[in-house]
Protein backbone atom coordinates (compact mmCIF):
# COMPACT_ATOMS: atom_id res chain seq x y z
CA UNK A 1 0.00 0.00 0.00
CA UNK A 2 1.53 3.18 -1.09
CA UNK A 3 2.50 5.43 1.79
CA UNK A 4 1.13 8.61 0.34
CA UNK A 5 -2.34 7.06 -0.02
CA UNK A 6 -2.56 6.33 3.68
CA UNK A 7 -1.25 9.82 4.50
CA UNK A 8 -3.90 11.37 2.24
CA UNK A 9 -6.65 9.39 3.91
CA UNK A 10 -5.61 10.95 7.23
CA UNK A 11 -5.50 14.48 5.84
CA UNK A 12 -9.09 15.33 6.63
CA UNK A 13 -8.89 14.39 10.33
CA UNK A 14 -7.19 11.82 12.56
CA UNK A 15 -8.92 8.44 12.55
CA UNK A 16 -8.82 5.04 14.04
CA UNK A 17 -7.05 2.26 12.31
CA UNK A 18 -10.23 0.35 11.59
CA UNK A 19 -11.84 3.48 10.17
CA UNK A 20 -8.99 3.82 7.72
CA UNK A 21 -9.38 0.27 6.65
CA UNK A 22 -13.11 0.68 6.15
CA UNK A 23 -12.66 3.74 3.98
CA UNK A 24 -10.14 1.98 1.83
CA UNK A 25 -12.39 -0.98 1.30
CA UNK A 26 -15.26 1.22 0.33
CA UNK A 27 -13.24 3.11 -2.24
CA UNK A 28 -11.87 -0.06 -3.78
CA UNK A 29 -15.14 -1.96 -3.91
CA UNK A 30 -14.71 -5.64 -4.75
CA UNK A 31 -10.98 -5.08 -5.21
CA UNK A 32 -10.86 -4.14 -1.57
CA UNK A 33 -11.53 -7.76 -0.70
CA UNK A 34 -8.15 -8.72 -2.04
CA UNK A 35 -6.46 -6.25 0.16
CA UNK A 36 -4.33 -7.65 2.92
CA UNK A 37 -5.66 -6.23 6.16
CA UNK A 38 -2.38 -6.20 7.89
CA UNK A 39 -0.78 -4.22 5.11
CA UNK A 40 -2.35 -0.98 6.27
CA UNK A 41 -0.90 -1.26 9.74
CA UNK A 42 2.56 -2.10 8.46
CA UNK A 43 2.44 1.05 6.38
CA UNK A 44 1.17 3.09 9.31
CA UNK A 45 4.04 1.80 11.46
CA UNK A 46 6.57 2.80 8.77
CA UNK A 47 5.04 6.22 8.45
CA UNK A 48 5.20 6.68 12.20
CA UNK A 49 8.86 5.75 12.17
CA UNK A 50 9.46 8.29 9.41
CA UNK A 51 7.82 10.96 11.48
CA UNK A 52 4.98 11.67 9.11
CA UNK A 53 2.28 10.25 11.38
CA UNK A 54 1.68 10.19 15.13
CA UNK A 55 -0.46 7.71 16.94
CA UNK A 56 -2.30 7.82 20.19
CA UNK A 57 -3.45 5.01 22.27
CA UNK A 58 -6.92 5.47 23.67
CA UNK A 59 -6.74 5.04 27.39
CA UNK A 60 -8.06 1.90 28.91
CA UNK A 61 -8.16 -0.03 25.62
CA UNK A 62 -6.05 -2.99 24.61
CA UNK A 63 -2.82 -2.25 22.81
CA UNK A 64 -3.99 -3.03 19.27
CA UNK A 65 -3.18 -1.15 16.10
CA UNK A 66 -6.75 -0.89 14.93
CA UNK A 67 -7.76 0.90 18.09
CA UNK A 68 -5.02 3.44 17.84
CA UNK A 69 -5.83 6.90 16.58
CA UNK A 70 -3.51 8.12 13.86
CA UNK A 71 -2.95 11.68 12.75
CA UNK A 72 -0.71 13.64 10.41
CA UNK A 73 2.30 15.63 11.46
CA UNK A 74 3.23 18.86 9.79
CA UNK A 75 5.77 17.00 7.71
CA UNK A 76 3.09 14.51 6.79
CA UNK A 77 0.75 17.23 5.61
CA UNK A 78 3.47 18.73 3.48
CA UNK A 79 4.12 15.35 1.91
CA UNK A 80 0.42 14.98 1.07
CA UNK A 81 0.23 18.43 -0.49
CA UNK A 82 3.24 17.65 -2.64
CA UNK A 83 1.83 14.25 -3.67
CA UNK A 84 -1.45 15.72 -4.78
CA UNK A 85 0.29 17.95 -7.28
CA UNK A 86 2.53 15.26 -8.73
CA UNK A 87 1.73 14.10 -12.24
CA UNK A 88 3.73 10.94 -12.47
CA UNK A 89 1.73 8.02 -13.79
CA UNK A 90 2.02 4.34 -12.91
CA UNK A 91 4.65 2.76 -15.12
CA UNK A 92 3.72 0.31 -17.78
CA UNK A 93 6.08 -2.60 -17.96
CA UNK A 94 5.80 -4.04 -21.43
CA UNK A 95 9.53 -4.50 -21.77
CA UNK A 96 9.48 -7.78 -19.89
CA UNK A 97 6.98 -9.43 -22.19
CA UNK A 98 8.61 -7.96 -25.25
CA UNK A 99 12.00 -9.39 -24.25
CA UNK A 100 10.36 -12.70 -23.44
CA UNK A 101 9.20 -13.04 -27.02
CA UNK A 102 12.55 -12.06 -28.47
CA UNK A 103 14.43 -14.46 -26.22
CA UNK A 104 12.09 -17.32 -27.04
CA UNK A 105 12.48 -16.73 -30.78
CA UNK A 106 16.23 -16.30 -30.69
CA UNK A 107 16.92 -19.39 -28.61
CA UNK A 108 14.13 -21.33 -30.30
CA UNK A 109 12.86 -22.24 -26.87
CA UNK A 110 9.23 -21.73 -27.72
CA UNK A 111 7.03 -20.33 -30.46
CA UNK A 112 6.55 -16.61 -29.77
CA UNK A 113 3.08 -16.81 -31.30
CA UNK A 114 2.07 -19.47 -28.81
CA UNK A 115 3.28 -17.25 -25.98
CA UNK A 116 1.31 -14.34 -27.33
CA UNK A 117 -1.82 -16.45 -27.73
CA UNK A 118 -1.57 -17.81 -24.23
CA UNK A 119 -1.11 -14.34 -22.82
CA UNK A 120 -4.06 -13.10 -24.84
CA UNK A 121 -6.28 -15.82 -23.51
CA UNK A 122 -5.29 -14.98 -19.96
CA UNK A 123 -5.90 -11.28 -20.44
CA UNK A 124 -9.26 -11.97 -22.06
CA UNK A 125 -10.30 -13.98 -19.06
CA UNK A 126 -9.23 -11.17 -16.76
CA UNK A 127 -11.06 -8.70 -18.95
CA UNK A 128 -14.17 -10.76 -18.66
CA UNK A 129 -13.93 -10.84 -14.90
CA UNK A 130 -13.21 -7.15 -14.59
CA UNK A 131 -16.07 -6.34 -16.89
CA UNK A 132 -18.43 -8.54 -14.93
CA UNK A 133 -17.44 -6.81 -11.74
CA UNK A 134 -17.76 -3.40 -13.36
CA UNK A 135 -21.26 -4.10 -14.58
CA UNK A 136 -22.31 -5.36 -11.18
CA UNK A 137 -21.49 -1.99 -9.66
CA UNK A 138 -24.19 0.68 -9.52
CA UNK A 139 -23.86 3.54 -11.98
CA UNK A 140 -21.16 6.05 -11.27
CA UNK A 141 -19.88 4.38 -8.15
CA UNK A 142 -16.27 5.09 -7.28
CA UNK A 143 -15.41 1.41 -7.37
CA UNK A 144 -17.08 1.08 -10.74
CA UNK A 145 -14.85 3.79 -12.09
CA UNK A 146 -11.80 1.93 -10.90
CA UNK A 147 -12.99 -1.23 -12.56
CA UNK A 148 -13.63 0.69 -15.78
CA UNK A 149 -10.02 1.82 -15.67
CA UNK A 150 -8.85 -1.78 -15.32
CA UNK A 151 -11.03 -2.81 -18.24
CA UNK A 152 -9.71 -0.09 -20.51
CA UNK A 153 -6.11 -0.87 -19.60
CA UNK A 154 -6.65 -4.53 -20.37
CA UNK A 155 -8.24 -3.55 -23.63
CA UNK A 156 -5.21 -1.48 -24.55
CA UNK A 157 -2.90 -4.32 -23.63
CA UNK A 158 -4.94 -6.70 -25.71
CA UNK A 159 -4.62 -4.39 -28.67
CA UNK A 160 -0.90 -4.42 -28.28
CA UNK A 161 -0.94 -8.19 -28.10
CA UNK A 162 -2.88 -8.29 -31.37
CA UNK A 163 -0.21 -6.09 -32.91
CA UNK A 164 2.43 -8.44 -31.53
CA UNK A 165 0.66 -11.35 -33.12
CA UNK A 166 0.52 -9.64 -36.49
CA UNK A 167 4.19 -8.68 -36.42
CA UNK A 168 5.48 -12.01 -35.17
CA UNK A 169 3.36 -13.82 -37.74
CA UNK A 170 4.95 -11.76 -40.46
CA UNK A 171 8.39 -12.43 -39.08
CA UNK A 172 7.63 -16.08 -39.05
CA UNK A 173 6.40 -16.02 -42.65
CA UNK A 174 9.46 -14.18 -43.82
CA UNK A 175 11.99 -16.39 -42.11
Amino acid sequence: MQQEVVLALLAKEPSHGYELRARLRQALGPLGDTMNDGQVYVTLARLEKAGLVVSEQAAGVAERPDRKVYGLTAAGQQRVAGWLTEVSWPKPDLAEFHLKLIAAAAAKLADPLAIVDAQRRELLRRLRDAQRAAMAEPDRSAAGLLLEGIVLRLQADLRWLEACERTWTKRKDES
Binding site: L28, P30, D33, Q39, R125, R128, D129, L154, Q155, R159
Partner: protein
Protein backbone atom coordinates in the same frame (compact mmCIF):
# COMPACT_ATOMS: atom_id res chain seq x y z
CA UNK B 1 -18.71 -32.23 -36.27
CA UNK B 2 -19.52 -33.79 -39.58
CA UNK B 3 -23.23 -33.76 -39.14
CA UNK B 4 -25.29 -30.86 -37.89
CA UNK B 5 -25.75 -31.51 -34.23
CA UNK B 6 -29.36 -32.02 -33.28
CA UNK B 7 -29.01 -29.23 -30.80
CA UNK B 8 -27.01 -26.82 -32.93
CA UNK B 9 -28.58 -23.48 -33.48
CA UNK B 10 -26.16 -22.52 -36.24
CA UNK B 11 -24.13 -25.14 -38.06
CA UNK B 12 -21.83 -24.56 -40.99
CA UNK B 13 -19.31 -26.69 -42.81
CA UNK B 14 -16.87 -25.58 -45.46
CA UNK B 15 -18.59 -22.25 -45.84
CA UNK B 16 -17.06 -20.17 -48.62
CA UNK B 17 -17.62 -16.79 -50.18
CA UNK B 18 -15.58 -15.66 -53.16
CA UNK B 19 -15.55 -12.56 -55.32
CA UNK B 20 -13.98 -11.96 -58.67
CA UNK B 21 -12.38 -14.51 -60.95
CA UNK B 22 -9.10 -16.30 -61.47
CA UNK B 23 -6.29 -13.85 -60.91
CA UNK B 24 -8.58 -11.40 -59.18
CA UNK B 25 -10.25 -14.00 -56.98
CA UNK B 26 -10.83 -12.83 -53.43
CA UNK B 27 -11.71 -15.43 -50.83
CA UNK B 28 -13.60 -13.44 -48.26
CA UNK B 29 -14.64 -16.55 -46.34
CA UNK B 30 -12.48 -19.60 -46.92
CA UNK B 31 -13.80 -22.89 -45.64
CA UNK B 32 -15.32 -22.09 -42.25
CA UNK B 33 -16.76 -24.74 -39.93
CA UNK B 34 -19.04 -23.52 -37.20
CA UNK B 35 -21.26 -24.95 -34.51
CA UNK B 36 -23.18 -22.66 -32.19
CA UNK B 37 -25.26 -24.18 -29.41
CA UNK B 38 -28.58 -22.66 -28.37
CA UNK B 39 -28.14 -20.00 -25.71
CA UNK B 40 -24.46 -19.63 -26.47
CA UNK B 41 -22.76 -16.32 -27.07
CA UNK B 42 -20.09 -16.62 -29.71
CA UNK B 43 -17.68 -13.82 -30.52
CA UNK B 44 -15.68 -13.69 -33.75
CA UNK B 45 -12.65 -11.42 -33.65
CA UNK B 46 -10.17 -10.44 -36.28
CA UNK B 47 -8.50 -7.51 -38.01
CA UNK B 48 -10.49 -5.51 -40.55
CA UNK B 49 -10.78 -7.24 -43.89
CA UNK B 50 -10.54 -10.71 -42.39
CA UNK B 51 -14.03 -11.59 -43.60
CA UNK B 52 -15.90 -11.62 -40.32
CA UNK B 53 -18.62 -9.27 -41.54
CA UNK B 54 -19.01 -11.32 -44.70
CA UNK B 55 -19.36 -14.42 -42.55
CA UNK B 56 -22.10 -12.80 -40.55
CA UNK B 57 -23.96 -11.77 -43.68
CA UNK B 58 -23.82 -15.37 -44.85
CA UNK B 59 -25.15 -16.62 -41.54
CA UNK B 60 -27.99 -14.13 -41.72
CA UNK B 61 -28.99 -14.95 -45.27
CA UNK B 62 -28.14 -11.48 -46.52
CA UNK B 63 -25.70 -12.95 -48.98
CA UNK B 64 -25.36 -16.32 -50.65
CA UNK B 65 -22.35 -18.55 -50.00
CA UNK B 66 -20.24 -19.64 -52.93
CA UNK B 67 -19.94 -23.08 -51.42
CA UNK B 68 -20.41 -25.18 -48.31
CA UNK B 69 -23.39 -25.98 -46.13
CA UNK B 70 -25.21 -23.79 -43.70
CA UNK B 71 -27.95 -24.87 -41.34
CA UNK B 72 -30.00 -22.70 -39.05
CA UNK B 73 -32.13 -24.31 -36.35
CA UNK B 74 -32.09 -27.54 -38.29
CA UNK B 75 -33.05 -26.02 -41.67
CA UNK B 76 -30.60 -25.89 -44.53
CA UNK B 77 -30.40 -22.34 -45.76
CA UNK B 78 -27.50 -22.05 -48.18
CA UNK B 79 -29.73 -23.06 -51.10
CA UNK B 80 -32.87 -21.22 -50.08
CA UNK B 81 -34.70 -18.89 -52.43
CA UNK B 82 -34.74 -15.16 -51.80
CA UNK B 83 -38.27 -15.45 -50.57
CA UNK B 84 -37.40 -18.20 -48.18
CA UNK B 85 -34.47 -16.22 -46.88
CA UNK B 86 -36.66 -13.19 -46.37
CA UNK B 87 -39.09 -15.27 -44.35
CA UNK B 88 -36.21 -16.69 -42.41
CA UNK B 89 -34.96 -13.25 -41.54
CA UNK B 90 -38.45 -12.33 -40.45
CA UNK B 91 -38.93 -15.24 -38.13
CA UNK B 92 -35.62 -16.55 -36.96
CA UNK B 93 -32.89 -13.95 -37.25
CA UNK B 94 -32.36 -10.57 -35.68
CA UNK B 95 -29.68 -8.33 -37.08
CA UNK B 96 -27.74 -5.56 -35.36
CA UNK B 97 -25.52 -3.40 -37.57
CA UNK B 98 -22.53 -1.24 -36.79
CA UNK B 99 -24.17 1.73 -38.46
CA UNK B 100 -27.47 1.10 -36.60
CA UNK B 101 -29.42 1.48 -39.86
CA UNK B 102 -32.53 2.92 -38.31
CA UNK B 103 -35.03 4.65 -40.58
CA UNK B 104 -34.48 8.36 -40.05
CA UNK B 105 -38.07 9.34 -40.52
CA UNK B 106 -39.53 6.82 -38.06
CA UNK B 107 -39.69 7.23 -34.30
CA UNK B 108 -38.02 4.69 -32.04
CA UNK B 109 -41.18 2.68 -31.50
CA UNK B 110 -42.04 2.76 -35.22
CA UNK B 111 -38.57 1.45 -35.99
CA UNK B 112 -38.90 -1.36 -33.51
CA UNK B 113 -42.32 -2.49 -34.70
CA UNK B 114 -41.23 -2.63 -38.35
CA UNK B 115 -40.11 -6.30 -38.50
CA UNK B 116 -43.38 -7.36 -36.90
CA UNK B 117 -45.38 -5.35 -39.44
CA UNK B 118 -43.34 -6.85 -42.27
CA UNK B 119 -44.13 -10.29 -40.88
CA UNK B 120 -47.82 -9.50 -41.16
CA UNK B 121 -48.71 -9.05 -37.52
CA UNK B 122 -51.55 -6.75 -36.61
CA UNK B 123 -50.56 -3.12 -36.05
CA UNK B 124 -51.78 -3.22 -32.48
CA UNK B 125 -49.86 -6.34 -31.54
CA UNK B 126 -46.74 -5.02 -33.23
CA UNK B 127 -46.98 -1.72 -31.40
CA UNK B 128 -47.49 -3.43 -28.07
CA UNK B 129 -44.53 -5.71 -28.56
CA UNK B 130 -42.40 -2.76 -29.65
CA UNK B 131 -43.33 -0.81 -26.52
CA UNK B 132 -42.44 -3.83 -24.39
CA UNK B 133 -39.08 -4.21 -26.04
CA UNK B 134 -38.25 -0.55 -25.63
CA UNK B 135 -39.08 -0.97 -22.00
CA UNK B 136 -36.70 -3.92 -21.79
CA UNK B 137 -33.87 -1.85 -23.21
CA UNK B 138 -34.73 0.98 -20.88
CA UNK B 139 -35.88 3.45 -23.50
CA UNK B 140 -39.61 3.53 -22.82
CA UNK B 141 -39.48 7.26 -22.26
CA UNK B 142 -37.91 7.84 -25.68
CA UNK B 143 -40.39 5.83 -27.68
CA UNK B 144 -41.63 8.81 -29.67
CA UNK B 145 -38.18 10.24 -30.38
CA UNK B 146 -36.64 10.31 -33.84
CA UNK B 147 -33.20 8.72 -34.22
CA UNK B 148 -31.67 12.14 -34.75
CA UNK B 149 -32.72 13.01 -31.20
CA UNK B 150 -31.05 9.94 -29.70
CA UNK B 151 -27.45 9.37 -28.72
CA UNK B 152 -25.39 6.66 -30.42
CA UNK B 153 -25.82 4.24 -27.57
CA UNK B 154 -29.57 4.83 -27.47
CA UNK B 155 -29.83 4.30 -31.20
CA UNK B 156 -28.04 1.00 -30.97
CA UNK B 157 -30.31 -0.08 -28.15
CA UNK B 158 -33.31 0.74 -30.33
CA UNK B 159 -31.68 -1.35 -33.05
CA UNK B 160 -31.22 -4.22 -30.64
CA UNK B 161 -34.86 -3.95 -29.58
CA UNK B 162 -35.78 -4.06 -33.25
CA UNK B 163 -33.70 -7.18 -33.73
CA UNK B 164 -35.69 -8.86 -30.97
CA UNK B 165 -39.02 -7.84 -32.45
CA UNK B 166 -39.97 -11.20 -33.91
CA UNK B 167 -38.46 -13.31 -31.13
CA UNK B 168 -35.56 -14.51 -33.21
CA UNK B 169 -33.75 -17.77 -32.66
CA UNK B 170 -30.40 -16.10 -33.09
CA UNK B 171 -29.26 -12.49 -32.94
CA UNK B 172 -26.38 -11.58 -35.25
CA UNK B 173 -24.47 -8.45 -34.37
CA UNK B 174 -21.93 -6.87 -36.73
CA UNK B 175 -19.52 -4.62 -34.84
CA UNK B 176 -22.32 -3.42 -32.58
CA UNK B 177 -20.10 -0.98 -30.68
CA UNK B 178 -17.98 0.13 -33.62
CA UNK B 179 -19.55 3.60 -33.71
CA UNK B 180 -20.00 4.07 -29.97
CA UNK B 181 -18.01 5.73 -27.24
CA UNK B 182 -17.09 3.83 -24.10
CA UNK B 183 -20.14 4.79 -22.08
CA UNK B 184 -22.50 3.79 -24.87
CA UNK B 185 -20.50 0.59 -25.26
CA UNK B 186 -21.19 -0.17 -21.63
CA UNK B 187 -24.94 0.26 -22.21
CA UNK B 188 -24.82 -2.20 -25.08
CA UNK B 189 -22.65 -4.58 -23.08
CA UNK B 190 -25.20 -4.67 -20.30
CA UNK B 191 -27.90 -5.38 -22.80
CA UNK B 192 -26.04 -8.26 -24.38
CA UNK B 193 -25.36 -9.61 -20.94
CA UNK B 194 -29.04 -9.61 -20.04
CA UNK B 195 -29.90 -11.23 -23.37
CA UNK B 196 -27.36 -13.93 -22.67
CA UNK B 197 -28.83 -14.47 -19.24
CA UNK B 198 -32.26 -14.84 -20.84
CA UNK B 199 -30.96 -17.65 -23.03
CA UNK B 200 -30.69 -15.81 -26.35
CA UNK B 201 -28.23 -17.24 -28.85
CA UNK B 202 -25.84 -14.50 -29.93
CA UNK B 203 -23.18 -14.37 -32.60
CA UNK B 204 -21.16 -11.17 -32.38
CA UNK B 205 -18.51 -10.02 -34.78
CA UNK B 206 -16.22 -7.44 -33.27
CA UNK B 207 -12.73 -6.15 -32.90
CA UNK B 208 -13.51 -4.71 -29.51
CA UNK B 209 -12.09 -7.10 -26.93
CA UNK B 210 -14.53 -5.86 -24.31
CA UNK B 211 -17.45 -7.21 -26.28
CA UNK B 212 -15.55 -10.37 -27.04
CA UNK B 213 -14.90 -10.87 -23.35
CA UNK B 214 -18.63 -11.22 -22.67
CA UNK B 215 -18.83 -14.28 -24.89
CA UNK B 216 -18.78 -17.91 -23.88
CA UNK B 217 -16.54 -18.75 -26.79
CA UNK B 218 -14.20 -16.61 -28.82
CA UNK B 219 -13.03 -17.44 -32.33
CA UNK B 220 -10.20 -15.59 -34.02
CA UNK B 221 -10.40 -15.13 -37.74
CA UNK B 222 -7.84 -14.11 -40.31
CA UNK B 223 -7.92 -14.04 -44.11
CA UNK B 224 -11.30 -15.69 -44.22
CA UNK B 225 -10.50 -18.66 -41.99
CA UNK B 226 -10.75 -19.51 -38.31
CA UNK B 227 -7.36 -19.73 -36.68
CA UNK B 228 -8.04 -20.01 -32.98
CA UNK B 229 -10.75 -20.81 -30.50
CA UNK B 230 -10.86 -19.87 -26.82
CA UNK B 231 -13.32 -20.87 -24.17
CA UNK B 232 -13.58 -18.05 -21.69
CA UNK B 233 -14.17 -19.26 -18.14
CA UNK B 234 -13.76 -16.90 -15.33
CA UNK B 235 -11.18 -16.73 -12.58
CA UNK B 236 -11.97 -14.63 -9.58
CA UNK B 237 -11.64 -11.04 -8.67
CA UNK B 238 -8.63 -12.02 -6.65
CA UNK B 239 -6.38 -11.26 -9.56
CA UNK B 240 -7.93 -7.92 -10.21
CA UNK B 241 -6.34 -6.26 -7.27
CA UNK B 242 -2.98 -6.81 -8.85
CA UNK B 243 -4.20 -5.36 -12.12
CA UNK B 244 -5.19 -2.23 -10.23
CA UNK B 245 -1.78 -1.80 -8.76
CA UNK B 246 -2.56 -3.12 -5.35
CA UNK B 247 0.15 -5.33 -4.04
CA UNK B 248 -1.08 -8.50 -2.47
Amino acid sequence: MNEPGSTSMVWARGLRKEYGQQAGLVRAVDGVDLDVAPGETLAVMGPSGCGKSTLLHLLGGLDRPSGGELHLAGRRIDQMSERGLARLRREAIGFVFQAFHLMDELTAVENVELPALLAGRSPKASRRRAADLLDQVDLADRAKFLPSALSGGQRQRVAIARALSNDPLVVLADEPTGNLDSEATLEVLRLFDSLHAAGQTLVIVTHDSRIAATADRLISMRDGAFIDETRLTGGSTGQLGALAGLEG
